[in-house]
Symmetry: C3
Subunit: 140 residues, 3 copies
């Protein structure tokens, strides 16, 4: 019998970096006894992203962060939108280069993630934030 579920997660961040919240998503799936369907995550912000990435070696996250920091420089004189801080416009661009929504099949109660895939919130601002992710499920 097909049905839907909705939820909202709040992910606290301590500033720039990648935060694994795979367990929060899997926990919501388990608690609601969701088995087969499609799980969609939508991040309700424009200066942070969602990312599926390697969850093994923490150096991968460090290198990702350092690469993006070099590609999109804080305080780049190109930017006109600077009133909210010199990391604000870079945060918008980093968000545009990644994404704010993901849809992942759920089969036999398991998200179709690969062995090395984790679901991350990527905080792009230097300051700590509280980020909200809308969750949706349709299936059975």
């Amino acid at each position: 019998m097909l049905h839907q579920s909705f939820h909202e997660l709040t992910i606290p961040t301590r500033g720039r970096g990648l935060y694994d919240f795979t367990d929060e998503v899997a926990g919501w799936v388990a608690k609601n006894n969701l088995k087969n369907g499609l799980v969609t995550l939508h991040l309700r912000h424009t200066s942070a992203s969602l990312l599926i990435q390697e969850n093994a070696d923490p150096d991968v996250r460090r290198d990702l962060e350092n690469f993006f920091a070099r590609l999109v420089r804080d305080g780049d004189p190109l930017f006109v939108h600077t009133a909210e801080g010199d990391d604000d416009m870079p945060a918008h661009i980093r968000t545009a280069l990644t994404t704010v929504n993901l849809s992942i099949p759920l089969h036999n109660g398991r998200l179709a993630l690969g062995t090395w895939q984790g679901i991350y919130l990527w905080e792009h601002r230097r300051a700590a934030h509280s980020r909200r992710v809308a969750l949706h499920f349709i299936g059975e």
Copy 2:
């Protein structure tokens, strides 16, 4: 009672830049009395993208455009595919760096967008175009 709806929007552009069409999507949702489910948008082109971005300060869109124009230069001598104009290959790359589809939960008749999020068509070609976005809804 779960059901589906399909539609296609046509978005006229005046050349390179970001075009907010959140109201067109929300208008389709309201007109069809869609309440709870998943809204998917698929752009049927390879030289324009879909983007969820800040809808407050227009400088954010200007800085986004200028950053991408610097990152992917028109007429870069690296490019072999130049027959359709020196902005064509950059348009394909800008599309690859962003996305052509989005899935957004709809809850109580409202898209799960954050306060500052708008849905944009990003035209990457310098000339005016007419862009088609396939819409899909499943839910109740």
Copy 3:
């Protein structure tokens, strides 16, 4: 009558480059007589991506590959995560800059792709790999 289907495709690659597998997706749709709904693809890896791009001129794929190879250089001294090869960290970054999941409406038995759009697996490692893509359909 709404229902779901699940499947997994295996895409063999011969190393870095774009592999069109639109026909494999369309073949699964036809074989299962799927007509109207939403098709979701999720790639179960962190060093390859999914991409919707131009399927006409092969120079587009060559230019895309060359642009990304210049943007994210193999062996960049910035990278700390090098144990799996000097193309491994670039592969993770190229994946972050693109995406690992896509959702495409299906209407009257046809994917809502534009005339020039193909569905590609983008292999980012230099060596040959076997890549797995989870497929999900919900609709009728």
